[in-house]
């Protein structure tokens, strides 16, 4: 083993050792995310968003343009910690899929995808709200929650989501304070 390889190994070993320490975690999640990396995950992000808001008799997340919205908002509006948690989350999900099903997430069947995603939904946070808040504050919000909130927001504010998934009233003119709920009434897209 030459000196260079030795140093490299030592560094790697050292880093691995520190990975369990929160100090390392802190440094890791505060460096900027590579936009190209995130954009390369657009397909899988689209499939995940579609699992949250699938196409039914109204459009789903994918056709409403939610994947682009998620990536744009993440890169430009969300703090670095959230961005990193999100990227790590996608990687973890891909790894989980390979470890448990022996294939990439995008190659999984519909049922398998649902199982994988459900695992992440179940492990998104502590069951005590206060612990979640503390955890979110120091380590960033769990990937699943960021994905879910951005999917909802992106869908409900998209043209298809607002006008077909929900009820959009561009210029209401009047305010009708108390009216009977119509059958299959969608809620209003804006308030």
């Amino acid at each position: 083993m030459n000196r260079r390889t030795y140093l490299k190994s030592a560094l790697i070993l050292g880093s691995l050792g520190m990975a369990s320490l929160s100090v390392f975690k802190w440094i890791d999640i505060t460096k900027p995310v590579d936009p190209a990396l995130l954009w390369s995950k657009k397909d899988i992000i689209g499939e995940l968003a579609e699992l949250i808001i699938p196409e039914t008799d109204t459009p789903g997340a994918k056709s409403a343009g939610v994947p682009d919205y998620i990536i744009n908002v993440l890169l430009n509006c969300m703090d670095i910690k959230k961005q990193n948690k999100f990227c790590t989350g996608v990687k973890d999900l891909e790894a989980y899929s390979i470890n448990n099903y022996g294939k990439k997430f995008l190659d999984c069947s519909a049922t398998e995808r649902l199982e994988v995603f459900d695992y992440f939904a179940q492990h998104a946070g502590f069951s005590y709200r206060i612990l979640n808040r503390i955890n979110n504050k120091f380590f960033g919000e769990p990937f699943y929650l960021t994905l879910r909130d951005l999917t909802i927001e992106g869908y409900c504010m998209s043209e298809k989501g607002a006008t077909q998934g929900l009820a959009y009233d561009y210029i209401p003119v009047n305010y009708n304070a108390c009216i009977p709920l119509q059958p299959n009434q969608k809620s209003w897209a804006t308030k």
């Binding site: 949250i52 430009n76 409900c156 504010m157 009233d169 209401p172 709920l181 119509q182 809620s187």
Partner: protein, 565 residues
């Protein structure tokens, strides 16, 4: 700067108004209508009604990042970005260009443009009453107001009749009725809470907000289209702003000269006749310095900026700042608190809904300390402002679990009825809550930065506890479930009701302005923005500023005619 006779003549007006926001717009209109050649100075850019409302007709999907501010926005504008979003950002200043010093956390939210914050105000219009005007005297706090309700009542009517205020008469002494357009309507959950308050005989009532939104066409404007996008500027003129109403009216007289990008740095004092002779201005774009002269001067720069301007206007006669013989300029800064309240869900009325986006909520007028001898651990009071609605996607996203078809169905259908309500509370005038100039730090025009030292104190904090208790009590007695109290603990400034840094009073030794908003020591200078307030009441204050402005303009023009100024 050398001023030749000719330029001096060109730069001379009958009146100068500093600031074009909600009170400055009124001053400009009133003075112009009375035939005075008036110069309106605004430190920001021009904003023309309709033409300069770029986001007013956009859909939610027209914003690439939704209504999320970018990381860069938050870095450049750490204060303003808490209040703006991509649909309203253009009506707020940049913190980077216009810094100030927070000696304690204080959100100084500003809109430097023609129209000022009248483009983004909450539009609630409430009259103050003698409960408010006499409170300081009764409790021996600060100084007495030099006016009472009867002095200002006709001016409230005058202003309301012009701007158009929708509301419901309720015949309450603590919240006098006004000249109202038809009220907006309460929805079924709000009516339910109103009925419950009646039944419980608390001596409390719930009424629809009184707002400067037009329920029918008025003065070539409106009616309100119930879009609830007021803060983007309204192309229908559905609500009152300087831009939609007073400034066009001032322009129509032919007497107005509007000069945007004009940062007024000093009021110039003429020691010979003990009056102001004009102002010094820096052109915000060219950095050139100008002087403008007039017989009468109205300062309407907004509370904190007005205090800064007075403090920066130093002369041998006024070594501590213009009109500051009392050493009260900059002190007694107030802002309402609106952090504490309660929230609850109701499991009935599931078959009912609403259509349209009403641009106001409800009001439960002040019900505390209305009579002497109430045994509460705080002075003064608060009103409750809130709104009822069914949970929509934005509320449901935090409460619904799961994903998939069922989740989508729930997300996109109306949820439970909810009511959110919070107390808008009076803040006492404390001498130590103040605005001052920094000795060293300057802005990019070389003007000293303002330092703001403000905190809510024991009385306000005790009041917030009472707000939580009574709010929760009212909701629980009306059958709401999952009632939760909250206190967001937002710092001063957040309610954007700054007041009190150049207070009115009888005595020049303890106040800056007299009962007609004249500077005691320079009778041709009037200050009618929030800085004139002697106490804060708990009523939203803009209507009072407008009424005091119209009253002072009437007084000033009569004095000018009689040779009294």
């Amino acid at each position: 700067m050398y001023i030749s006779g000719n330029i001096k003549e060109l730069n001379t007006y009958d009146a100068i108004v500093i600031g074009s926001g909600i009170s400055g717009g009124w001053a400009a209109m009133e003075l112009c209508k009375k035939g005075l050649k008036t110069l309106l100075l605004e430190r920001g850019r021009d904003v023309e009604h309709i033409k300069d409302y770029p986001t007013a007709n956009l859909n939610p999907w027209d914003f690439k990042y939704g209504l999320n501010n970018t990381l860069k926005d938050r870095e450049i504008d750490p204060v303003q970005s808490n209040s703006y979003d991509p649909s309203t950002k253009h009506f707020y200043v940049s913190d980077a260009d216009h810094p100030y010093i927070q000696e304690q956390p204080f959100n100084w939210l500003r809109g430097y443009q023609v129209g000022g914050r009248s483009l983004v105000w909450g539009r609630q219009c409430y009259r103050m009453s003698d409960l408010d005007f006499s409170a300081n005297l009764k409790e021996d706090i600060a100084v007495d107001w030099p006016i009472r309700y009867q002095d200002i009542a006709p001016w409230y009517s005058y202003v309301e009749s012009y701007i158009g205020v929708s509301g419901q008469k309720e015949n309450l002494t603590q919240l006098p009725d006004g000249e109202f357009l038809p009220p907006m309507e309460l929805n079924c959950i709000e009516k339910h809470l109103a009925d419950s308050l009646k039944k419980n005989e608390y001596n409390r009532l719930l009424t629809i907000g009184r707002v400067a939104n037009l329920t029918r066409g008025w003065d070539h404007r409106g009616p309100c289209q119930n879009r609830n996008l007021c803060h983007r500027g309204c192309p229908f003129g559905g609500y009152f702003s300087s831009n939609s109403s007073t400034i066009p009216a001032a322009v129509a007289t032919g007497n107005l000269t509007l000069r945007p990008f004009s940062i007024v740095t000093e009021v110039l004092f003429d020691p010979e006749n003990q009056k102001a002779k004009g102002v010094r201005v820096i052109d915000a774009l060219s950095n050139e310095v100008y002087e403008f002269y007039s017989k009468v001067l109205f300062i309407n720069a907004s509370t904190i900026a007005t205090a800064g301007l007075l403090l920066n206007s130093v002369s041998p006669r006024f070594p501590n700042g213009f009109g500051n013989d009392s050493n009260q300029v900059g002190h007694n800064l107030m802002d309402h608190h609106s952090s504490a309240g309660a929230y609850g869900l109701h499991d009935q009325f599931k078959e009912l809904y609403y259509k349209g986006r009403r641009p106001c909520g409800f009001l439960i007028p002040r019900y505390r300390n209305l009579k002497d001898g109430e045994e509460l651990d705080f002075k003064r009071g608060y009103n409750i402002q809130g709104h009822g609605e069914r949970q929509e996607w934005l509320d449901r996203s935090h409460n619904l679990n799961g994903f998939g078809k069922d989740f989508k169905a729930q997300l996109t259908s109306p949820g439970d009825w909810t009511i959110w309500m919070a107390g808008w509370g009076e803040c006492l005038p404390y001498y130590e809550n103040r605005v001052a100039l920094d000795d060293l730090k300057k802005d990019k025009w070389g003007q000293p930065l303002l330092k703001i030292d403000f905190s809510f104190k024991e009385n306000e904090n005790k009041m917030m506890v009472d707000i939580q208790n009574t709010s929760a009590e009212m909701l629980e007695n009306a059958g709401f479930k999952g009632v939760e109290v909250f206190n967001y603990k937002k710092p001063g400034g957040t309610t954007v009701h700054e007041m009190g840094t150049a207070r009115m009073g009888h005595d020049p030794k303890t106040s800056v302005l007299n009962k007609f908003n004249q500077v005691h020591a320079a009778r041709n200078v009037f200050i009618t923005d929030g800085s004139c307030m002697t106490s804060s009441s708990c009523q939203n204050p803009s209507l009072t500023y407008m009424a005091l402005t119209a009253r002072a303009c009437d007084f000033a023009s009569r004095q000018l005619r009689n040779g009294g100024l």
